[in-house]
């Protein structure tokens, strides 16, 4: 059975699914830990642009934390 995990307010991302239908375009991506980095829309800045928020379904790191 597919397990779900949460990014931001979304609890519909599919753990281990490289074609996760809930992810933003071009995601999930491979994480160095072997998991998948999923992406959802995140906070909106003052210009009205929403910034993606990302999280690995294994280690929990965001893309920013990988550098």
């Amino acid at each position: 059975m597919t397990k779900l995990f949460t990014i931001g307010d979304e609890t519909t991302h599919l753990i281990g699914d490289a074609q996760c239908p809930e992810c933003l375009e071009d995601y999930p991506e491979l994480c160095p830990c072997g998991g998948l980095i999923h992406a959802a829309s995140g906070e909106e800045d003052k210009g009205g642009t929403e910034w993606p928020t990302t999280r690995c379904d294994q280690c929990g790191r965001s893309e920013e934390e990988l550098d």
């Binding site: 933003l24 375009e25 071009d26 995601y27 992406a39 829309s41 909106e44 210009g47 009205g48 642009t49 929403e50 910034w51 993606p52 893309e63 920013e64 550098d67």
Partner: protein, 153 residues
């Protein structure tokens, strides 16, 4: 301040806006510009219909034609602005890596790019390649938004 601006383009209208913005900035600063466009390598198993239907040689040819069109627009803008400009077409699976690597190799000190590319121009969410460049680049990044141009004097 900034001496060498890298402007990535995917040929989209918003990229063209970023080119105009980057050229104007370079002119004001007396900086030179490198304009970069990227193509994905040919893959046999791909969702892109162009890759599915074409041979590798044909695909590369199509990419060259497409890149030349995008870069030609940049050269025209550079000529109009009177800015020193080089253009570059690279093939890489991850466009954001090509952008960052090119900026590093060419000692660019600013990346000027659009908030969205061809795939996400109508989206409210920041484009994925722009987001990745912002996330991974150690070089300052200037993001041009949709609607920015009409706000300029």
């Amino acid at each position: 301040m900034y001496k060498h601006v890298l402007i990535p383009t995917d040929g989209s209208p918003l990229s063209e806006m970023a080119i105009r913005h980057g050229m104007a900035l370079a002119k004001a600063l007396g900086a030179k510009v490198t304009v970069l466009t990227t193509s994905l390598p040919f893959r046999s198993f791909a969702l892109d219909p162009v890759m599915v239907t074409e041979s590798p040689a044909r695909y590369e040819q199509e990419c060259e034609v497409w890149a030349e069109k995008a870069l030609g627009t940049a050269r025209t803008e550079a000529g109009t602005a009177g800015v020193s400009c080089e253009t570059l077409h690279v093939t890489q699976a991850q466009p954001y890596q090509a952008i960052i690597e090119t900026a590093q190799k060419r000692a660019c000190d600013l990346i000027c790019m659009a908030s969205h590319g061809r795939k996400g121009i109508s989206a409210f969410v920041l484009g994925s390649e722009t987001y990745k460049v912002l996330t991974h680049s150690k070089i300052p990044v200037l993001v041009c938004r949709l609607g920015q141009e009409r706000d300029q004097p």
